[in-house]
Amino acid sequence: MTTSEVTDRVPLPQTRPAPERRTRRVMGAGKQMHAGPVTYIVLTVFALVSLAPLVWTAIAASRTDRRLAQTPPPLWFGGNLFKNLQAAWDQAGLGTAMFNSVLVACTITASTVVFSTLAGFAFAKLRFKFSNALLLLTIGTMMIPPQLAVVPLYLWMSKLGWSNQLQTVILPTLVTAFGTFFMRQYLVQALPTELIEAARVDGASSLRVVWHVVFPAARPAMAVLGLLTFVFAWNDFLWPIIALNQQNPTVQVALNSLGTGYVPDQAVIMAGALLGTLPLLIAFLLFGKQIVGGIMQGAVKG
């Protein structure tokens, strides 16, 4: 009669997603062809263009403002990196900004993943009135630019006395249409309907089904959605720069202040850009494969 009994009877489903097998079978386009040297050369050029601005950010951040104004521009690292990072951390408020951004991005990520999985599950596997229309509406909402909401939101937040507080940037993105659609697309094929039915037969309530069947089956997609949402939340720009200011900034708000002359030292600005990007670069280093997989997966089905 206890929870553990139900857990035992509803086994963890195979979490390997089906699409991988499918891709391997159809293995299209040039996949069968080995790349020639020309391919590698062109790819290297693309890779250099992708990485060079980032490497150069680090180079510029290790120089002085005066050196950056001289020709030719520096091509190798100087000795001022830590001094500039320190300055960006203290003067541009990047310390507070990093803390705030971590808080905001983690909250948004956790909530988006959970609520998107719930909604995605409902759209994928449950039958209810207007489900198709509501799903279409969900997809349609992705077309609405954020500009359409910011004026009223700004007015309301000031009336509530919330201006410059973090909940103003957290609340509007607690769950996204993209996340809902992403989870729906995944669960449609990754979650066998029989598994839910079996749990139902055992008398599991909807919440138990979610906890013991849906979440385990959705775990790989939840991880990917979490990474994508974190990137999105960390980089969100328009609403944060309206709702927050330099007194209590996120990283993007602090970088915006840097760019509009808050600190006139170019080397410090570059140190700020480097600091603000570093968490995501580390995430890409650790989970790059999963992020790439997530984007490609979303694409095929989307």
């Binding site: 719930l118 359409l148 760019g259």
Partner: protein, 341 residues
């Protein structure tokens, strides 16, 4: 794992127990034989749960969407018909269509619309073309294919703000990397921030840099889903690699291309962060001559720098209407494409 699988299969096959059984009765192997209590509160609760849970699961999304998108969208329309000033938020006086009249009479609005279109085209077209080419290369059997893909995606990890700060420095007039590199091929220093096309090109290049890899991955995913026998039969017909790319890959990618065009168009219409930061202190004006002021930037400038939130609302709704027109055109084109096939 296997034994519980069997238990599940058993539970599913004994269908007679399934529909009528109350939740409590079926729990545990020994409970299966017990007859269900008729119409107990549990059973009612269970039925209610089945009916209500889908709505409960989707409600967080629709609540958030309603409160922070749909209602604000309507209020934006309402405010666009009012005089709302940042300095006195509580005083909103009815203004009819004044904001719109004001807007359409302003040369800066048309300038912003033109810039949004130009920058949109010179950032989207090269970006998507490069992305298709890159995807084609990534689709070969590569050594370290994952590493290549992650590297191409790293610009996507860079925020608009960070990327623009870096590019602004790269494009600076004296001592900038771009002008220094150009002098090797005999080009005189270009004033990237002040010139018309130079600034628009520079802003576009930031967009291209950040999004080419992302779009390439989307195309790559679509390419990998193309059935391999299409290529085999094309090869049997004597098609070389280029002809295969032209006559098999591109037609098969058509829905994906359409999808990326739509997404990029939506993104281009809202373009905001890149021109704002590229302009430095005069960022919200889009340069000294408004040479790279986009609609998104114009709205921010009118709303939060000048402080006319009513006019900003009118700009926002104009953007929305433009997007709806684009969506309609897109739908017509898609339908015609489908008919012609």
């Amino acid at each position: 794992m296997t034994s519980s699988d069997q238990a599940l299969a058993h539970a599913a096959s004994s269908a007679d127990a399934a529909p009528g059984s109350s939740p409590g009765a079926a729990r545990g192997a020994h409970g299966r034989g017990t007859p269900p209590e008729p119409d107990s509160w549990r059973r009612r609760l269970y039925r209610w749960d089945m009916k209500a849970s889908p709505y409960a699961f989707i409600s967080p999304f629709f609540l958030i969407f309603g409160a922070f998108s749909l209602v604000p969208l309507l209020y934006t329309a309402w405010y666009s018909l009012h005089d709302v000033q940042l300095s006195s938020l509580d005083h909103q006086t009815w203004a009819g269509l004044d904001n719109y009249k004001n807007l359409f009479a302003s040369e800066f609005f048309w300038n912003a619309l033109k810039n949004t279109f130009t920058i949109g085209v010179i950032s989207t077209v090269p970006q998507l073309l490069a992305a298709i080419g890159l995807a084609h290369l990534l689709n070969y059997r590569l050594r370290g294919s994952t590493v290549w893909r992650v590297v191409m995606l790293t610009p996507y990890a860079t925020s608009v703000a960070a990327a623009t700060l870096v590019f602004t420095l790269l494009y600076s007039w004296d001592g900038g990397m771009v002008n220094w590199l150009l002098h090797f091929v005999g080009v005189h220093p270009i004033n990237w921030r002040e010139s018309d096309w130079g600034s628009q090109f520079a802003v576009s290049s930031i967009v291209i840099w950040r999004w080419t890899g992302y779009n390439a991955l989307i195309y790559l995913a679509a390419m990998q889903a193309i059935p391999v026998d299409l290529y085999e039969s094309a090869a049997l017909d004597g098609a070389n690699r280029w002809q295969q790319f032209r006559h098999v890959t591109i037609p098969q990618l058509r829905p994906t291309i359409l999808f990326t065009v739509v997404v990029s168009t939506i993104g281009a219409t809202q373009l905001f962060g890149e021109p704002l930061l590229f302009g430095g202190i005069s960022g919200s004006k889009g340069g000294s001559e408004h040479q790279f002021q986009t609609l998104g930037l114009y709205m921010y400038d009118q709303g939060w720098i000048i402080g006319n939130l009513g006019k900003a609302s009118a700009i926002a709704w104009s953007m929305f209407l433009i997007l709806l027109i684009i969506a309609a055109i897109n739908m017509l084109l898609t339908r015609r494409l489908r008919k012609s096939q």
